[in-house]
Amino acid sequence: MSKPFKEFTAIDRVVHEPARLALLTALSACESADFLYLQRLTGLSKGNLSGHLTKLEGAGLVQIDKHFVGKVPQTTARLTDEGRTAIAQYWQHVDRLREASFRLAPDT
C-alpha cells in the first residue's frame, strides 16, 4: 500500500465521521453549547446526537455536563483539551494528505 493511502487509513475515524466532525467544529467555536443548540445546528435526531456525543465523550474529546436550570434539565457539551488538539490535528492530517496526493506519482 503506497504511503498516501496508508496515511489516509490512519485518519482519526472518531473525528472524521461527518456528524461528529460537525459537532467538533461547532464546539471548537465556543466554550460550550447545549444539547438543543447542537441538535438544531446538525439536524440530528435526539437519539443520534446523544449517541455521537457519547462516542466523543468515550474518546475523551468532549465533556458532557448535565445539570438543572431551575427545574429544567439541561445538557451541555464542551471540548476537552484533547478534543481541541484532536480537531486541529485532524485538519493538519487532511492537509498532509492533500499535499501528498499532489506529489503522488503513478506506479510504473
Binding site: A19, T25, L27, R40, L41, G43, T76, V94
Partner: protein, 206 residues
C-alpha cells in the same frame, strides 16, 4: 495549500462563534428605540416637551429590556452557546478604539460642520460591512445596507436633505431601520441554518 473545511463546516463554526450577533430579533427593539429617539427631536413629535426629554431614556431602557427578553426566547427555542473567553478580543479592541470613535467623529462633523456630503454615511457603510464580515459573514442584506449608506453620502449635494440636523436625523433614523430590518433578516437566516433537517442524520454506525 491549506485544506479549507467545507462551506457547511465553516458556516457552523462562524455562526456558533457569533451566535449572539445572529440572534437578529434582539436588534429590533434597539432599532425602534433609535427611531423613536430621532422622532422625539423633531417638531412633528406628538408628545409635549416634558415627555420629549424623557423619551430617549424610556426608549433605551425598553429597548434593552426587550432585547434581553428576546435573548431568553433564543435560548429556549434554539439553544444556548457560551462564548470562548477572549475569542473576540481583537474585534472588540478595534470596535472600541477605531470604529466607535470614527462614528462619533463623523457624526460630529456632519452635525457641526454641515458638509455637502454625509461623512457618517461613508463611515457607516464601511462599519456595517466590517460588522458583517467580523461576525460570521453571510447576511447579504447588510451589503445592501452598506451600499445604500454609501449612496446616501451625496444626498446633501443633490439637495435631497439639508446639511446639519436633518442629516443626523436621516443617518440615525436609517441606522435604526437597519437594526430593525436587518435584525429580522438575520433571524430568518439563522432560522434556516438552525432548522437543518437530516444533514448529518444518516444511517451510520455510532
Amino acid at each position: 495549500m491549506t485544506v479549507q473545511p467545507s462551506p457547511d463546516l465553516r458556516r457552523l463554526h462562524a455562526i456558533t462563534a457569533n451566535y449572539f450577533f445572529w440572534q437578529g430579533l434582539r436588534w429590533v427593539p434597539p432599532g425602534a428605540a433609535l427611531i423613536l429617539f430621532v422622532w422625539s427631536t423633531m417638531p412633528s413629535f406628538p408628545l409635549p416637551a416634558a415627555w420629549r426629554d424623557a423619551t430617549p431614556w424610556f426608549a433605551l431602557t425598553l429597548g434593552l429590556v426587550a432585547s434581553w427578553l428576546i435573548g431568553k426566547y433564543y435560548a429556549h427555542t434554539y439553544g444556548y452557546v457560551r462564548s470562548l473567553p477572549g475569542m473576540h478580543a481583537r474585534r472588540n479592541a478595534v470596535k472600541w478604539s477605531v470604529v466607535y470613535p470614527m462614528i462619533a467623529l463623523a457624526l460630529m462633523v456632519d452635525g457641526l460642520l454641515k458638509p455637502s456630503i454625509i461623512v457618517s454615511g461613508l463611515v457607516f457603510a464601511v462599519s456595517i460591512e466590517a460588522y458583517r464580515r467580523s461576525t460570521g459573514g453571510g447576511r447579504r442584506h447588510y451589503v445592501l445596507a452598506s451600499v445604500l449608506f454609501a449612496a446616501a453620502t451625496f444626498a446633501p449635494a443633490l439637495g435631497l436633505v439639508q446639511p446639519g440636523r436633518d442629516v443626523l436625523a436621516l443617518v440615525l433614523g436609517s441606522l435604526g431601520g437597519v437594526y430593525m430590518i436587518g435584525g429580522v433578516f438575520d433571524h430568518l437566516e439563522l432560522r434556516r441554518v438552525l432548522q437543518a433537517r437530516g444533514d448529518y442524520d444518516h444511517v451510520e454506525t455510532v
